[in-house]
């Protein structure tokens, strides 16, 4: 089983040496090993612990309780509020972010477990005022009403398009099947996702 921090138990043992483990003295460990020990040890907290997250191309340092979800870390600690909290239990997808390029529910990912991974939120997709192709397609096909589910759908669409540049209807239904909308924007969403995927004449999607 892979560790979210990229640190396996094998890596840990190799790094600190068996002797240190036998000695059982955490103080005797190097700073690097201490960090590795903390990362590998599930018993951190209950108070806030310092963590580093790679978000939207920069490393952000923050202190959160171990129970803090990635979603709450983004919204409450980093003021990245594009990802929304709706069901808070991995049903609706309003909190969808990309972790190592794949769509993930940030409401059921612990922030500490997201260390060492590459996190991209909806805020990263546009280049300043210039919207990404999928975002332009959302606007063009009116794939939003109240807009509260929209960032999650944008990120889920982006994840789909990265693996399948021209998704057909079935692929869109599957790719966006982990997100829910209350206003009923699914018709626009289907069109947006399929049109953003279709290669435009003389250009990229």
């Amino acid at each position: 089983m892979s560790d979210p921090n990229g640190l396996s138990r094998r890596h840990f043992l190799k790094g600190v040496g068996a002797g240190a483990i036998v000695a059982g003295s955490i103080e005797a460990l190097s700073a690097e090993a201490r960090a590795a020990a903390q990362a590998a040890n599930p018993c951190v907290g209950p108070g806030a612990v310092p963590i580093k997250l790679s978000i939207n191309g920069s490393v952000r340092e923050l202190a959160v309780e171990p129970r803090t979800t990635l979603l709450d870390a983004l919204r409450n600690h980093l003021d990245l509020t594009g990802s929304k909290k709706v069901c808070d239990r991995a049903t609706c997808g309003a909190c969808t972010v990309l972790i190592d390029g794949k769509a993930a529910y940030s409401c059921t990912t612990l922030a500490i477990a997201a260390q060492g991974r590459t996190i991209e939120t909806v805020e990263s997709l546009a280049n300043g005022a210039e919207l990404a192709p999928i975002q332009k397609a959302f606007v063009e096909h009116d794939a939003q009403q109240c807009g509260f589910c929209t960032p999650g759908f944008v990120v889920a669409s982006e994840a789909l398009l990265r693996t399948n540049a021209s998704p057909d209807r079935a692929a869109v239904l599957e790719g966006l099947g982990g997100n829910l909308c209350r206003c009923g924007t699914y018709v626009g969403l289907k069109k947006a996702c399929m049109s953003a995927g279709a290669p435009a004449k003389g250009g990229r999607r």
């Binding site: 509020t81 239990r89 109240c146 807009g147 699914y186």
Partner: protein, 712 residues
């Protein structure tokens, strides 16, 4: 108002430039990029998070509340009881005590540490089976009679009897109810509120907190859904205001999903036993209904029967309200209409089956009973017939089919509209820029975009030349967004304000153009003399003549620019798996009129959205109450099911947009398309199976029960 030189009436359909065209919503880029800041997204410095302990029973009396332990927990700044010993609680989810802490995690944990003792009282969760409702929770029936029902039924050639209905559902706004309050000093408060009625927030804060209304800054730039449930501040907002006042720290209160689904709004159930009298040729002559429903612990469940066909000459109605111990009802898109459409259109479809008639033929035959909208319905039925290919596809109920059975169903609906109060200021600045400010709010319906289109159309400018500012209490007030009254109000107000501003600008440039102001028009980015296109001045150059202060045009809603009364027709095609009971909507057709269409793109989106919400209530949604404890069993999004993208089939929308419709004036569209889907889907299922599934949501279990394949 200055004298009206420019005509305020809407231009003819053939003369419009932006009006009635497909325009992308202005708030789209902010929403798709995550830049749009909702109430939930406000993070002022030193924020506290408020969380509640809530009643887990349908009905209970408080024996004691102890917040001592919660108050001592790390990060907790405030903890207190909201009820006292002896208070009776009438539904699960209602707040009994609150904590405020410096992080959301700590606030949640502390709320769980609040200790409450309850004396559980007898409650009622039953509203489907009328005979099983304890008498003490039954309201006195209301009755109405017209014509001679006994005679009509005695003389009827065909009589049909059936039972229909639908469960209580919730609004399930994705942005929950809530607010962020911040006392800047003892006398001034700022509040972000997720609200459908921003202009009234300051008055409500004043009545709750004692802060003077003039010192309240209320903001709601965007909100994540309302659907009728967010018209005023709630008890939880009042609690947060109290904490904010006491602590002088900003307080965020946003209901967690479970409380949102339990207490923040529901739609009443509606059930009825119906008898229809008809002649052999399908003419409807009599209607008897005994209906009932529950608005939970508060509100009315009354139905409008017979729906649309209210010209049936001989009717006898009774309706009894039932108290269930569940969160009270709030207005839900087109109050009472979806339930009434389901009952009426189902009974008519069943009567048609009994007569061996195509329901489309029966509906057409009885259109005169629908009153003034009969011609509208006739026209729309023809369009829907073509779009669905109904006449080619429809088959009688007894058609032999295999395991997967296909069926078609239809429904008609109506709604009023009109326009609420609306005021605005349209400013034209000397540098050529234009802005409009209005105390309205955009629920995702396209209000902001509609207002911009009207101003741009009126001033002959591109859409992006108009800056629209809405969603703040300091702007000229507009009404709450409910009952499809927003677009009529805001579009007429924007039109009047922009015409007023244009006329003032014409007066400034008349001398320059050597023509009286009455003969000027604003088109294509210039001010020009009517019929003398050579005599013109660029809009920007014209604005240089304005002087030191901007022009301000004042807008107010205007009845002559809006209208009321629409009709719509919807048809559903379904496939039902007769072994599993699973219903799949394969195709859905919606034909709708709404008078003058301002933005065709967002108008269509309203109809798509209404249809999808309606399909959801037809097949999936029900707030389930535990008969033993009164607790809501599905206050989450796994078991309170919303349709997903794969659940809705192919939906086609047609907006009636001829000069005849266009010339009627603006009519709102929030309610109408959400009315018929439940009825159309239920009828399609009945047509597919040959038996009626009497209740929505039409779950696999309900289907199998109707087919006699499952035990009750």
């Amino acid at each position: 108002m200055s004298s009206m030189r420019m005509d305020k009436n809407w231009p003819k359909l053939e003369d419009t430039r932006l009006l009635g065209k497909r325009v992308s919503r202005l708030d789209g880029p902010d929403k798709v990029s995550g830049r749009a800041k909702y109430t939930y997204d406000q993070n002022p410095k030193d924020l506290l998070y408020a969380k509640f302990a809530w009643c887990p029973y349908g009905r209970a009396k408080i024996k004691s509340i102890d917040v001592t332990k919660a108050a001592e927990m790390p990060g907790v700044v405030s903890a207190f009881a909201l009820r006292k010993e002896g208070d009776e609680l009438r539904y699960a989810g209602v707040e009994v005590a609150v904590v405020a802490a410096d992080t959301e995690e700590r606030a949640r944990e502390a709320a769980r540490a609040i200790v409450v003792e309850y004396e559980v009282l007898p409650h009622n969760a039953e509203d489907k089976d009328f005979a099983a409702v304890p008498k003490e929770f039954l309201g006195k029936p209301r009755e109405r009679k017209a014509g001679d029902v006994d005679k009509a039924f005695a003389e009827a050639e065909v009589k049909h009897t059936g039972e229909y209905g639908c469960a209580q559902i919730t609004h399930c706004c994705l942005e929950p109810h809530g607010s962020v309050s911040h006392f800047k000093d003892d006398e001034h408060v700022a509040i972000w509120s997720s609200t459908q009625a921003i202009s009234g927030i300051a008055e409500q804060v004043a009545s709750i907190s004692g802060v003077e209304a003039k010192n309240v800054e209320a903001v709601c730039h965007v909100l994540g859904g309302g659907f009728g449930s967010k018209f005023s501040l709630d008890s939880w907002d009042a609690t947060a205001l109290r904490i904010a006042e006491e602590t002088k720290r900003p307080v965020k209160v946003m209901l967690e999903r479970d409380q949102e689904l339990m207490i923040a709004g529901s739609r009443p159930s509606g059930y009825a036993k119906v008898q229809i009298a008809a002649t052999n040729d399908g003419t409807l002559t009599g209607w008897i209904s005994e209906s009932w429903g529950s608005a939970g612990a508060g509100g009315s469940s009354n139905l409008s029967l017979p729906y649309v066909f209210n010209g049936i000459p001989n009717v006898r109605l009774s309706h009894a309200g039932i108290t269930t111990h569940a969160g009270p009802a709030r207005a839900w898109r087109a109050p009472s209409h979806p339930q009434s459409a389901l009952v009426t259109m189902s009974a008519i479809e069943d009567a048609a089956a009994l007569l061996g008639m195509d329901p489309l033929a029966l509906v057409r035959k009885n259109l005169a009973l629908t009153g003034p909208l009969a011609d509208t319905y006739a026209e729309e039925l023809d369009v829907a017939d073509r779009m669905m290919q109904w006449s080619a596809k429809w088959k009688p109920r007894d058609s032999k089919q295999g395991v997967i059975r296909t069926g078609h169903g239809l429904s008609l609906h109506t709604w009023g509209g009109g326009g609420h109060e609306s005021n605005c200021d349209v400013r034209i600045h000397s540098d050529g820029t234009v802005d409009l400010s209005m105390g309205t709010q955009d629920l995702g319906t396209g209000t902001k975009t509609v207002v911009a289109i009207v101003v741009a159309e009126t001033l002959g400018l591109p859409l992006e030349a108009v800056a629209v500012r809405i969603g703040e209490g300091r702007f000229p007030p507009s009404g709450g967004s409910g009952g499809s009254t927003t677009v009529g109000g805001v579009s007429s107000s924007a039109r009047v304000g922009a015409v007023d501003a244009a006329n003032q600008l014409f007066a400034k440039v008349a001398a320059e153009l050597g023509a009286p102001a009455e003969r000027l028009e604003a088109r294509d980015g210039v001010i020009r003399v009517i019929d003398e296109p050579g005599k013109s001045i660029a809009f920007k150059d014209a604005c240089r003549l304005i002087g030191p202060n901007p022009i301000v045009g004042h807008g107010k809603e205007d009845g002559s620019l809006m209208n009321s009364g629409v009709g719509g027709v919807q048809m559903a095609e379904v496939e039902v798996d007769s072994e599993t009971g699973v219903v799949t909507v394969t195709k859905f057709v919606a034909v709708q009129d709404c008078g003058t269409i301002i933005d065709l793109k967002t108008a269509e989106s309203q109809v798509f959205g209404g249809v999808i919400m309606g399909i959801t209530s037809a097949l999936y949604e029900e707030r389930v109450i535990d008969p033993v404890t009164g607790m809501v069993l599905n206050p989450d999004l796994e078991f309170y099911r919303l349709a997903g993208i794969g659940d809705i089939g192919e939906i086609e929308v047609h907006m009636m947009q001829t000069e005849r419709h266009h010339s009627r004036g603006v009519i709102g569209l929030g309610e109408p398309p959400a009315i018929s889907p439940m009825a159309a889907v239920a009828n399609a299922v009945a047509n597919a199976l040959g038996v009626r599934v009497p209740r929505c949501p039409i779950t696999p279990r309900e289907v199998l029960l109707a087919l006699g394949k499952a035990g009750a």
